[in-house]
Every structure is written in C-alpha cells, then in structure tokens.
C-alpha cells in the first residue's frame, strides 16, 4: 500500500512539467513510465557494482603486499563513518560520501595509492533501546542494520575498499579499543615535557599507589554528573542537550566514575590546531570549547560569622585588576567549605538551595537567564588586597567543576555579578573608568583603574600584571591559566558498549592483562538499565566474579570510544597482533610532506566539531606521545558538508513528511543521477534544499552523454553511435575538450563539483552538435565523467574500447591516467573585428589574432556587408585598432 501511494505521488510530479514542454504538433498523452527510459541505468549499474565487487577493483594493497607500488604517493581520504540506524541511509549521507568518492576516483587516476574505507560506528543507544523493547540482542539488530547500510552504499557505487570494513562492536575491534584505554590507564601527563609517559616511571621513582592513581590519564573520581533516570545512564556535558531535547530528564548527581584527563592536553589541543587545514569556524568552536583564559588565583580568608576557624578559599579571576571592586564571594553549592562557613540561622535555607540546584544541569545553571538565584551563608571573607569584610554567598551560577568552585564577585564590571548584586541588593563599587560614551550599567571592557589604590590610573592590562605581581609578592595569589574544558566523563551505565578492562579488588582498581582482551559483555535476557550507577552488567553475577576477591567493573565506555581511533584501524583492518602494523600506520598516516596530520582529507558534518573531533585528537596525541602512532594530529584536512533540506526548504523530518529516501531516487533515476545531483545542488559546504526537478535535470544530462556515445539498433540494443568515428578532432572540438579538462581538474582539486558538472554539460552540448564526433574526444569526456558517474562512464568506456581499442579507450578506466589539458589548444585562433563605415557598425570580420594591419584593411573593404555602404563613395582613410575594429572613412 505504501509502495502504491508513493508511485502515484511520483507519477503526478513527473506529469506536470513534461506535459507543458511537449511539442504542440502532437497530442501528448504522456505516460509517466516514458521519462524513465532515458538510458538503461537499471541494468548497467548493478552490472558494474557486481564487477567491482568480483574483481575487487578498489582493494588497496598495503606496504609489504605483493601488489603494492611504492613509487606512488599516498592519499588517505576518510568519511565520517555512520551509525547504522534502523532507518537506513538518508540523502545527507551520500553528499559527503559522493564528494570523497569523486576525489578518490580522481586521485587513483592521478596515480595515487588511495585509501578509501568505510565502516560502522555500531555501539549506541538505539540498538540497546530496541533490545530493551523486544528482547532481541543488540548484536542481531546491529548486524541487520549494517547489512542494510552496506547494501545501500554499494548501490551508490562508492569505490570503498570493502576488505577494510570495520565495525566498532566486533570483538577484534573492541579488543584494541580496550587496549587503548589501558594505554591511558597506564599513563600520566608529564608537565615538564607536556607529554604522556608511562606510570611505570613513577613507580620507579617510588611514588605511592595513591599518588599514581591521582595522575593517571584514565582515573576514577567522584564527580557531579548528568544523570538521566529515564535513560538510566550518565551523559557527557556535550550530550545533555541532545537527550533533553528528546524528552529525557537529566539531573546532577555525584557519582564515582571513570574519567579521561583530557584537560591535561588543553593547551596542546589549542596550539596544535594551528597547522591543520580545517575550516576556521571549527577551529574557533574547539578553541571556545576549551576556553582558555589567563588570570589569577586569589586567596581569600573566610570564616563563619562569629566563628573563629579560618579557611582559605581560592577564586579564579580573569580580571585581577578589579580586586578592589570585589564586594562579595560566591561558592558553588557543592563547595566543601559551604558547611564550614554557613551560620546556624542560614543552614536551612542553604540546605534547601543545594537540593534545588542538584536538579539542574551545568547548561541550565550557566545560561544567561535574567533571574539569578542564591542564598547568603552568613559567612564572611576578607578581601586580600584591602582587608575589607565581604559576605559569602552560595549560588548555582558558579560551577564546582570550573576553576576552584568559588568566584570573587565584581558587580560593577561583570554582567552576571551585576545582575546578582542588583537582585540581592549587594554593594557595587566601580573600579574601572568606562569611556565617556559608555551608556550601560555595567562596563565589562578594558579601561583605566580607579578607586584601586596602587593601581589607579593604569590601563587594564598593566593593572592586571601589577596586581598579579602584588598578590605573588604577598603570598595571596598567583598567575593562573584556566580552561573551561572539563575532564571527559567516560563511564556509562549501559549494556551495548565496550566493558572496561578493569577489576576491583579490596576497593582498588586493577587493569586486565593485554592477553585477557577482548573482554566482551555477557549475554543477558534483560537489557534494561538498572536505574542505579552499576548498570545492566551488574545483573550478570557469574560474569562479574573475576576471582574469589576481585569483581569486574560494570560500567561501559561511551559510544565515542570506538570512533576515536577507527581511522587507524582502517590502515590495517585485519591485523590480529596490533591495532595496525607499524608499517601500515606509518605509510597511510605518515607525514611525508611535513604536515602534522595523517588523514589527507576528512569529510563530515559540523555536528561533530567539539565531540568526536576533540576526543579523537586527544586519544591520538596520547598514542603519539607513547610512540604508537607517527603523527601528532589525526586529520590534516577537514571539510564539512552542508545540510540537505527537504524540498520545502525545511529540515527533513518524518513528521514534516519531507524526507527523501535515496533508495527511491536510485530506483527512479539511477545511482549516477543521485550522485551527480547531490554534487550539482551547490557548493559542498552550503545548506541547500532538495529538488526532484533537479534530479530529473541531471538525469537528462546523463542521458545526453549516453546518446552522445551510443544509439539503439533496430532490435533495441545499445551500440556505439554511427556518428562516432576514429577521426582527428577539429580545433573547436579540441578547444572545448581541453577547456573542460582544465576546468574539471581544477574544480575537483578545489572541491567545486557543481561547476565541474556545468562544464561537462557545456562540453556535451557542444559535441552533440557535431557529426562525426571524434572517438578520442568522446572517450576523454567519459574519463572526466568517471569520478562523478562511474557506472555510466565504465559502461561507455567499455563500448568505446570494444569498438575502437586501446588507442582510444583503455580496458580499465579506474586506474587510467587522468587526462591533461594542453594550453595550446585553448588559444583562440581567430578573433572577431568590428567593421565601421564613418563610425557606424556595418559588419564583422574574422581574422587571425596576429593578422597584419594591411590585410585587415583589405578584408574589411572586401566584405559583402561593407561593399554596399561604400558604393559611390571614395575611401579617404582606414583606421585599424588591432584586434578590435576597422573604421573606414569615406565620402
């Protein structure tokens, strides 16, 4: 039924425009099936897909393999691998995939060894939630979805090396994900060298177990986390928004969790962005996410009203120059000193406030909402620079995980502090002179210090430096660089993820030996989350029991783990001894050109700017520090494809009913048309709407190319067109061909695929006018088309090869050298000159560009259009402007 409705809808769509354009001389009773027979893509596309599969055309040998050709340069081109969802491929996937496929097919023809792999990011919540609903093991669902995705991708003719396919849920893959986790577990960040080093070095130096556990790159910590009771798991800060928007509640809760010390790499993650060929916008997103700020840590002495015991609180500030304007101190509700400073009278209010805060996420708390909340503790602090007594408050706009969980509030020069002070009627003291034209209430920019004792009259930067020097000299603070970036919460309470290779014994964690990997999750009858921090694995009592004394860790890793290193596995996907052999990793990731990144081109959506792309860089740097990989960055060049909107210009969604299924497009127009259209829609990076008419348009173009080369015989079979002959091309044909070679080549290099296609359309139209058409010219056009519409190109090339042989068309197109343009063919060999009589335009002549002046004069006077205007007149003078005009003066 669904099938039937769909076909009716399509029929109507195609009926409209066709009817209008049919010639009036005939009665067009157009039937929809007509338009679809432009050329037989339905037979030729499966034919070539089967042949590429059988012959393993795109299998890529590694160094050491017999077929490996070391003389060729390498090119590693990577797609962001998909999560194999039950819904299958959508039209957004083939956009990036087609772009990389064009580049890869082109690079092969340019003589590169090309690595172009595909795989599956297959752990994840949807398969697990389906398992919870149906009881079917996530592995079964995942396998079905993967099979569907693979079949769909093959139907689009992508030139992946399928022998290198990876699946993050395969035991052979999980083994190495766990192995990398152990690398992190067994390492610490050495501040002196700014590199990861093995903790074994610390053991040798006599560090205690406790000291070492405190510096591991993978460590356990009790942290306030985003706990979702609906999902039964914790979420990373980066994930909170997505799951909340899907209607799940998320609350804050302190939990003992595995974390990865990504903060140790904060500075390197900023600095080493520099040499990457990434869009500036993505670099900026990462820099902002890491959020480096320079400032000072200031020490305040706090105590309870009337109390004796003094405590030190350090607060980070980016504006130490405003310390004289600090009129109160704010502690995060989770701050350990809250109880110490709260007075009896305030205890109840503070306790209630802390409870209320627990239900909010970091995002909620730090949003710039006009209404601030907070409670006075009744405690006081002393301002270190002038000894003034300022109140201590608790408020949730201060996060425990940022800085030290305490801030000094300068309401005159900070928007949030200002809003808070106004709301609770706290004093506001201006200490920076705003410019005369400043009209606002709260000046947050740089100015000149005032009411600030020894800082008065100094511009902000100088005042900052002097204050830091004063604090350091008096032991009341120090210069400090702070980052917004948090450590990466790495524990999930799920079933369908990698188990940690960790056991617990006497309250201490211990790593499994490498020989015990992979550690796979036990089969369960019930995949439901337990709603407790132990997760569903805690139900497998036999599995948990590692030995008499030791129990397994029951949390699992987040989905990001597998995608942090899949690009490395592709370089040697079937290796059982190592995550990838050293030689394969060095070859494909190698930096022969002195670049810092390994993958030559990485294409995917912008949604991964601060998640996958930051996590993967972090893991890669650790592996590089430990000597396991050869470059310091994973991805040298990154390109983001733009979103494809529905035909109505809205984001595609099931509820809007504007989702385009690539399978339908392939069925109706063929894979080559889908590929070509996705590239013809507009620049790759741009957001653009789908258009069914547009697909028809490129389909018609492909049919033109088809009929440029082939024609039907009397029995309806396609044979090389009688108009094609092995004749030398004309100058005009050579010109348009070489223009096309030049443009397509430079456009592929700059990934301007839409304009490359336009040029091929121009070329096809030009050649279509000619009879005979030189076989060599047509064959070259087919080679240019190959990266874009490979099925058709291979088919046409085969026909040309059979008819005209190697001299015209190669037996194998995939590795045939890419055509080179000849600049000499582009030169205009005739130019047009305007001929005037007494200044009036009368005719035009065509001459060689270097035609002598005398000849131009003679030709102009002799041409037909001029003769009649000169009748009865005497030519007095002829003026020639070279390459432009001839003016005949006569009377």
């Amino acid at each position: 039924m669904v099938e039937r409705l769909r076909s009716i809808a399509i029929d109507r769509r195609m009926l409209g425009p066709r009817n209008r354009s049919a010639p009036q001389t005939l009665n067009p009773r157009f039937s929809p099936e007509m338009a679809r027979h432009r050329y037989p893509f339905e037979t030729l596309e499966p034919k070539w897909q089967a042949r590429w599969d059988e012959e393993q055309t795109f299998a890529t040998p590694n160094p050491g393999d017999t077929e490996f050709d070391a003389s060729k340069p390498k090119y590693y081109c990577l797609d962001m691998f998909p999560y194999p969802s039950g819904a299958g491929l959508h039209v957004g996937h083939p956009e990036g995939y087609t772009a990389t496929d064009i580049i890869c097919r082109y690079k092969r023809m340019q003589g590169f060894n090309v690595l172009h792999p595909m795989g599956w990011d297959a752990f994840g919540l949807p398969a697990e939630q389906y398992a919870i609903k149906t009881g079917q093991h996530p592995r079964v669902t995942t396998e079905q979805n993967v099979n569907n995705f693979r079949a769909q991708l093959k139907r689009l003719g992508f030139s992946y090396d399928w022998q290198r396919e990876v699946n993050t849920t395969d035991p052979d893959y999980v083994r190495w994900t766990q192995w990398i986790f152990l690398q992190l577990y067994h390492s610490y960040f050495d501040e002196a060298t700014q590199k990861a080093r093995p903790v074994a070095e610390l053991v040798a130096r006599g560090w205690t177990r406790e000291q070492i556990d405190a510096v591991r790159l993978a460590f356990v910590a009790e942290v306030p986390v985003n706990w979702s009771p609906d999902l039964g798991t914790v979420l990373a800060n980066e994930e909170v928004e997505e799951w909340k928007s899907k209607g799940n509640t998320v609350e804050r809760r302190p939990l003992r969790q595995w974390n990865l010390r990504i903060t140790a790499y904060a500075q390197r993650l900023i600095d080493e962005l520099e040499d990457l060929d990434w869009p500036e916008s993505i670099k900026l997103l990462q820099r902002n996410w890491i959020g480096r700020s320079e400032g000072a840590e200031v020490t305040f002495i706090v105590k309870r009203q009337g109390g004796r015991k003094e405590h030190e609180v350090t607060a980070f500030t980016t504006r130490p120059d405003t310390l004289f304007g600090a009129t109160y101190l704010v502690l995060a509700p989770e701050h350990p000193l809250v109880d110490e400073v709260t007075t009896q009278a305030q205890q109840e209010a503070v306790a209630a406030y802390r409870k209320e805060t627990a239900a909010k996420s970091d995002m909620d708390r730090t949003e710039a909402t006009p209404k601030k909340t907070g409670v006075a503790t009744g405690g006081y602090a002393s301002n270190p620079v002038n000894g003034s007594r300022i109140p201590v408050w608790v408020a949730d706009y201060v996060l425990m995980s940022y800085g030290s969980g305490a801030i000094m509030a300068v309401p005159a020069h900070d928007d949030r502090d200002h809003a808070f002070a106004e709301q609770f009627d706290l004093p506001i003291i201006e200490v920076v002179q705003a410019p005369a034209d400043f009209a606002g209430k709260c000046f947050t920019g740089s100015g000149v210090a005032k009411s600030s004792g020894f800082l008065d009259g100094l511009p902000t930067p100088k005042a900052k430096d002097l204050m830091i020097a004063w604090l350091e000299a008096h032991g009341k603070g120090r210069r400090k660089i702070n980052y917004k970036l948090r450590d990466w919460l790495f524990s999930r309470q799920r079933y369908w993820g990698e188990p940690f290779p960790i056991v617990w014994k006497d309250g201490l964690h211990e790593a499994l030996r490498e020989s015990e990997l992979p550690l796979l999750a036990p089969d369960l009858d019930d995949f439901k989350p337990t709603g407790s921090p132990e997760g569903p694995l805690s139900k497998a009592t036999d599995w948990i029991r590692y030995s008499k004394k030791a129990k397994r860790e029951t949390n699992t890793m987040p989905q990001w783990a597998g995608s942090c290193w899949y690009y490395l596995r592709y370089t040697d996907a079937r290796n059982l001894q190592r995550f990838a052999s050293k030689s394969a990793e060095a070859y494909w990731m190698g930096d022969g050109s002195g670049k810092s990144g390994g993958v030559d081109l990485y294409v995917g959506g912008t949604e991964h700017a601060v998640l996958h792309l930051l996590y993967a860089r972090f893991w890669h740097k650790v592996l590089h520090d430990l000597g396991h990989v050869s470059t310091r960055e994973p991805f040298q060049k990154l390109v983001n494809q733009g979103l494809i909107l529905g035909e109505d210009g809205q984001k595609m969604s099931k509820s809007r009913g504007n989702v385009v299924n690539p399978d339908d497009v392939v069925e109706e127009f063929g894979a080559d048309s889908l590929r070509l259209f996705e590239m013809f829609m507009g620049p790759l990076e741009q957001v653009k709407p789908w258009s069914t008419k547009g697909v028809e348009g490129v389909n018609r173009f492909l049919a033109k190319v088809w009929r440029l080369v082939l024609e039907e015989d009397q029995e309806g079979r396609w044979i090389p067109s009688s108009s094609i002959a092995d004749v030398p091309p004309t100058k005009a044909q050579l010109k348009v061909l070489h223009q096309t070679i030049k443009k397509v080549t430079s456009d592929i290099e700059s990934m301007s695929f839409n304009t490359a296609i336009s040029q091929m359309m121009v070329c096809t139209n030009e050649l279509g006018k000619d009879d005979p058409r030189p076989a060599s010219v047509v064959a070259t056009l087919v080679q240019l088309l190959n990266p874009f519409a490979p099925h058709m190109a291979d088919e046409l090339n085969e026909m040309l090869h059979e008819r005209f042989g190697d001299a015209v068309a190669p037996a194998n197109l995939a590795y045939h050298p890419w055509p080179k343009h000849d600049e000499a063919c582009l030169i205009e060999d005739e130019i047009e000159m305007v001929v005037q009589v007494n200044g009036k335009l009368r005719d035009r002549i065509r001459v060689a560009p270097d035609c002598p002046q005398k000849t131009c004069e003679e030709l102009a006077i002799a041409c037909e259009g001029i003769k009649k205007h000169l009748e009865g007149l005497t030519v007095r003078k002829v003026i020639v402007v070279p390459k432009k005009l001839v003016n005949i003066v006569a009377n």
């Binding site: 010639p23 001389t25 039937s31 679809r36 440029l708 009397q714």
Partner: protein, 303 residues
C-alpha cells in the same frame, strides 16, 4: 487479488503494473531486476518468499539480447529457462497461477502460414531454445499456467523499431531496412491489455496462447508505416521512403551472431475466441504509438 509482477521495470512489466493497479481490489507487488536476480535460484526463492502469498504471478522478465544469448547459452538457459521453472513451481505450490511471456522465436521460421499454438517448435538460436525451455518448465510445474507468446513488441517507453526508424529518418537522407523477414508487430500497450484481460477474465486460458496485433508485416512494411504516420504528425524527416535490404546483408553489416527466424507470424484465433474479438491490426497500433507516445520518447532521447 494479489498479483506479483516479475520484470516490473521492463517495458512490458511497467505497463502491466500500471494497468493492474487501476483495477480495484487488485494488489500489485512489483519486482524489478534489482530486487530479484534471476541468475540464482536461491535469490528467486528468497524474493518470492519475501513477497508472501499471491494469487497470480506474471513473468515479464527475460534476457532478450539474441546475440548475447548465443555467446552465453548457459546464462540464457538459466534466466529464460530454469528461473521460469523455479517461479512456476513456487507459484504452483502456493496455489497461484502464472502467466509467462514467451516468444515467436521458439519457431524455426520456415512456415509461411501463421503459426498456431500446436505447431511444432524448433528454435534455431540459443535465445529461442532458452525461451522454449522456459515454456516446458512452466507447464511441467502446472498445466494451469499460461505461456503467452508475443512477437515484435514495440511502443511505450522503449519505443522499439518504429522509434528507431523515425529517429534515423530524422538524421539521414537514406535508410534501408530488411524486407525479407516476416512477422506480426505488437504494440506493448495492446499486449499489456491482453495480459490484464487474461489475468481477470480469461482464467480458462492455460497451456500455450499466441497474442499479437492482427496482420503480417516485414520490417520494411512496419518501418514504412511508422514513417507515414510520422509524416502525418509533422515530424521533420530527412527521408520519407525506406529503401530495402536483406537479412543476410544486415547480419553481415551488424555482425549478428544468432540466426533469426524468417517467418514468425503468430495465429491469434485462440485468443480471439477467448476474447470475442480479434486484436486490432498492427497498423492501428503503430499509428496510435506515433500519434500519442513517440514525441515523448523522442524528447526523452533528444540530444
């Protein structure tokens, strides 16, 4: 009724899908080549399995490239023969009827009178032999199945011979076509209409049945008729009169590998008796096609 159409993306299959869907109460499942690979029996069984129960199976799929069949007779026998047998068996086991499209090429072409259903077959090429194998497998699976032999299909999306002639005549001043090969052109819309009739009404039709438009023609007659209609329709032709050539000459020029029957006109008396009237003359079908559909075909194929 639930009908399954195999070869649903082909010229005839597409029309059958469209026409059957216009029948109220008829559910149509369309299987194209990408959904059912006829080269392996397993793929056929899997695809039919997935389609569930059905009452009628119409097989419009075939490998019709006569010369290619000659060089790969094993593949021809699989696709046009064994595959039919598998479908026929599955259909019979599920209590369904099957209409299988066959061809005039099962005859040797030596008989000048129109061929009747019971006339002896004797294919002279691998294509005809493979189609005959299909008929035999079909009827061995169930005597209730129907092999519908059609000849010289043209029209609709693919256009066929008349489209070829008109397009050539628009391009060149002289054009010669074969005048010593005889048969009955059949409009593909007429054939689809006959299939729909047989699906709903001619249920008693079983065994072998012939269908083609009435009358006999050589390729030359056929092509000239198309040109005459094109003249009427005002198409810009460079030549309006076809020259004549022989099959032998064309075979040498085009490098034919397979022999084609000389005479293959089919006698449709049995169909006419079932239907109560004779199929319309082939000339009408050609006129209809040129008048109504050819312009769209030309447009779809314009350079």
């Amino acid at each position: 009724m639930k009908a399954l159409i195999v070869g649903a993306n082909g010229n005839l299959g597409k029309l059958c899908v469209l026409r059957l869907r216009q029948h109220p109460g008829c559910e149509v499942i369309a299987l194209s080549r990408s959904e059912m690979n006829l080269e392996t029996d397993l793929a056929i069984r899997t695809a039919l399995d997935a389609a569930g129960n059905f009452d009628l199976l119409i097989n419009c799929a075939a490998w019709t490239d006569v010369d290619a069949c000659e060089t790969d007779p094993a593949k021809a026998n699989q696709v046009n023969g064994h595959a039919v047998g598998v479908m026929a068996k599955v259909a019979a086991q599920g209590g369904a009827r099957m209409i299988h499209i066959s061809t005039d090429y099962v005859f040797d072409g030596s008989q000048t009178a129109p061929y009747r259903e019971e006339d002896p077959t004797g294919p002279i090429g691998a294509y005809g032999a493979s189609k005959l194998l299909g008929e035999q497998k079909l009827l061995a699976a169930s005597p209730d199945h129907l092999a519908l032999r059609v000849s010289w299909l043209f029209g609709s999306a693919a256009g066929g011979f008349p489209l070829w002639v008109v397009r050539q005549a628009m391009k060149s001043d002289t054009l010669s076509v074969v005048s010593d090969k005889w048969g009955s052109p059949t409009g593909v819309t007429d054939a689809a209409e006959a299939i729909v009739f047989l699906a709903f009404h001619g249920r008693e039709a079983r065994g072998v049945l012939h269908f083609c438009n009435s009358g006999q023609a050589s390729w030359h007659d056929w092509g000239q008729c198309a040109l005459d209609q094109a003249v009427k329709a005002g198409l810009p032709l460079k030549t309006t009169q076809l020259g004549e050539t022989t099959m032998e000459a064309l075979a040498a020029k085009a490098g034919w590998k397979a022999r084609r029957p000389i005479h293959s006109t089919l006698c449709c008396d049995r169909y006419a008796a079932l239907r109560g009237e004779k199929p319309r003359p082939w000339q009408d079908a050609v006129a209809d096609y040129v008048e109504n559909d050819l312009s769209a075909s030309l447009q779809a194929s314009e350079l």
